[in-house]
């Protein structure tokens, strides 16, 4: 088990390395560099002074030297300076990270809260109207593009019905640290989280449904029934436990989406998180922020995959990839 983990982590290192090289060179291809922000502030700076500054900052060094320096900075937590906001990238990201995290977790929880009961019900009452309705819902939610769904939800519930706030993560003027703040933040989360969760439930529902249908026919279920175990207990204790474990593996993959920023949702709901930061930075050509965010995303994806594989192999020893 630990050998497996170690091996996976070892494979991850070259992947991280290649990822960072790729991102670094993509970043180099982007127009502008570390001085762009300063130039904007003071356009009268002469070309010669600019050149001297570049020399001092090491921007004229060969690529691999710059890469080494960039990597070193990364490890120390220095992600560079934003061109536009004139503050460290790390600060910018830090303030948004929490928001994105809350949104991601909310979506994750909602997704499972919705999909697990629906999946089990759908499997248990197979071919009834309930099952057909739930299955129909899964087809719809699978097909609907997330930005259209979010837009429609915003329109209907936010604007037309006015039930939910339409932007931001918290109202202006609410004091942080108070209970009202927490409630307010939560209130702002509901609509985007619902939009995100409702379209993500498909895979889990379908998987659970199939699992329940298959497990129902197994011998140990017949045994439990003939022993006189009440039907609901048959489901909750025996069938559920068998079906639930692989879903935990999907959890790993979902974790990467948590911090991937959910670009569309954040953009449509005006939710100030990493996704929105990414879109704003690209539009403003603030490439140091962009680079940092892409790197972060890639790193999280790798970690998520690793987690997912670990959980899967822990849950089902047959899958342990040697």
């Amino acid at each position: 088990m630990w050998k497996f983990t170690l091996r996976r982590i070892l494979i991850m290192i070259p992947q991280l390395f290649v990822l960072s090289v790729l991102i670094f060179f993509v970043a180099k291809a982007m127009p502008g560099d570390a001085l762009s922000g300063a130039i904007e502030a003071n356009p009268k700076v002469s070309a010669q002074v600019l050149e001297e500054q570049r020399e001092k900052l090491g921007l004229n060094d060969p690529a691999w030297v710059q890469y080494g320096r960039w990597l070193g900075n990364l490890f120390q937590g220095d992600l560079g300076k934003s061109y536009v906001h004139k503050v460290g990238v790390t600060d910018l990201i830090g303030s948004r990270l929490a928001n994105t995290f809350y949104l991601g977790v909310a979506i994750l929880i909602l997704t499972y809260v919705i999909s697990i009961p629906l999946g089990i019900l759908s499997g248990r009452y197979q071919n009834t109207l309930l099952d057909k309705t739930i299955t129909g819902y899964t087809y719809l939610s699978f097909a609907t593009p997330i930005f259209i769904f979010s837009l429609l939800m915003l329109f209907v519930f936010g604007f037309r019905l006015g039930w939910f706030p339409t932007s931001g993560s918290v109202d202006v003027g609410v004091q942080p640290g108070t209970w009202a703040y927490v409630v307010n933040k939560f209130y702002h989360l509901i609509l985007p989280a619902c939009a995100g969760a409702l379209v993500s439930t498909t895979a889990t529902i379908q998987y659970l449904r199939n699992e329940v249908i298959d497990t129902r026919l197994k011998d140990f279920v017949k045994t439990a029934r003939s022993k006189g175990v009440p039907e609901s207990k048959v489901y909750s204790r025996h069938i559920l436990r068998n079906s639930l474990l692989p879903i935990a593996a999907f959890l790993g993959y979902d974790l990467t989406a948590v911090l991937a920023g959910n670009l569309f949702i954040e953009s449509i709901f005006g939710y100030p998180g990493l996704g929105q930061l990414f879109l704003q930075s690209i539009t403003q050509r603030d490439f140091s922020v962009v680079t940092a965010l892409v790197m972060l995303s890639g790193l999280l994806a790798l970690i998520g995959t690793l987690l997912s594989d670990l959980i899967l192999s822990w849950v089902d020893p047959r899958i342990r990839m040697g």
Partner: protein
């Protein structure tokens, strides 16, 4: 004592077992939603491609300041946008662009994915290992973010560049799927037999394995088409999709980023959103019906 009459067993008529295509077709027809979707799609395609003759792109994109933000009327079936351009015309042109480009991306990524998947699955060993490492790496990359980055930094950006960027990321999913199937097919008797006979590899792949994958390929193609149209419209909505001058359904929806327009001028963005939704749903229903056809346990008919 009677004569014993020997009854001869009637000669059994040998029935042709249904081909792949007829099974797919039969399943499709049994599913009412799929039929409805097919009809819709048919009308849709006639609408947007037939109108090439009728609607002139220049006419539609001409700015008419006298008719800014007009509500739907007889003149402008879906009203006008904030520069006075007819929404209905833009809808048709945008739909045509979105569908055509989505289609091209799907076909191209399928072609590449299929080829690489076949190679990796059939030859196995080192070739397979190398290709899979490569694919695993691409799968880790944040797709949307990188597409947006590339769209922004590529100097001469046009429709073909967009198609290239999308295809470059999307072929990997297909390749992985095909490779898994090919790995399984490879072990089957007919492949081993062909090899023993000395059939060249490319013949085994093209005439033996590939036809057996056809149903999976078709299902995957259909579902991918729906997904790709969704991605393209989403990117265009954010402003990182099709280049300016090539309207897409997503660009129409992007007017909704302005809360005023979202609330009051619904005709600017709602029709495009609904069209995207219905189009993708229709293609999906067809794809799902086909998918059920390939999995005998779930067939309706």
């Amino acid at each position: 004592m009677g004569m014993r009459v020997e009854t001869v067993a009637p000669i059994e008529t040998i029935q042709k077992s249904p081909s792949n295509w007829s099974i797919l077709g039969r399943e499709l027809l049994k599913d009412k939603m799929a039929i409805g979707s097919l009809i819709f799609l048919f009308l849709f395609l006639i609408g947007i491609y037939g109108s090439i003759a009728l609607i002139n792109q220049d006419e539609v994109t001409k700015i008419d300041l006298m008719a800014i933000q007009a509500a739907p009327s007889a003149d402008h079936w879906l009203g006008t946008d904030d520069a006075g351009r007819d929404i209905f015309g833009q809808l048709v042109i945008g739909a045509r662009n979105s569908f055509t480009i989505g289609f091209m991306i799907t076909i191209l990524s399928a072609a590449i994915g299929l080829t690489i998947g076949l190679i990796a699955g059939f030859f196995g060993g080192l070739v397979d290992n190398v290709i899979m490492r490569f694919i695993d790496f691409i799968l880790v990359l944040p797709f949307l973010m990188l597409v947006i980055v590339f769209v922004t930094i590529i100097p001469k950006y046009g429709v073909w560049e967009f198609i290239a960027i999308m295809t470059a990321f999307l072929w990997v999913g297909k390749a992985r799927l095909i490779r898994a199937k090919v790995l399984a097919e490879r072990e089957l008797d007919y492949v081993q037999a062909s090899k023993t006979l000395g059939t060249p590899n490319w013949k085994i792949i093209t005439f033996g394995i590939l036809p057996n994958l056809s149903s999976i390929v078709i299902v995957n193609l259909t579902l991918n088409l729906a997904g790709n149209i969704g991605i393209e419209t989403g990117l265009s909505y954010l402003g990182f999709g099709l280049p300016d001058g090539t309207p897409s359904l997503g660009t129409l929806v992007s007017s909704a980023t302005n809360p005023v327009i979202l609330e009051q001028y619904w005709w600017m963005w709602l029709p495009a959103s609904l069209l995207i939704l219905v189009l993708i749903l229709a293609i999906n229903f067809i794809g799902q019906a086909l998918k059920r056809a390939t999995d005998a346990k779930q067939r309706l008919g």
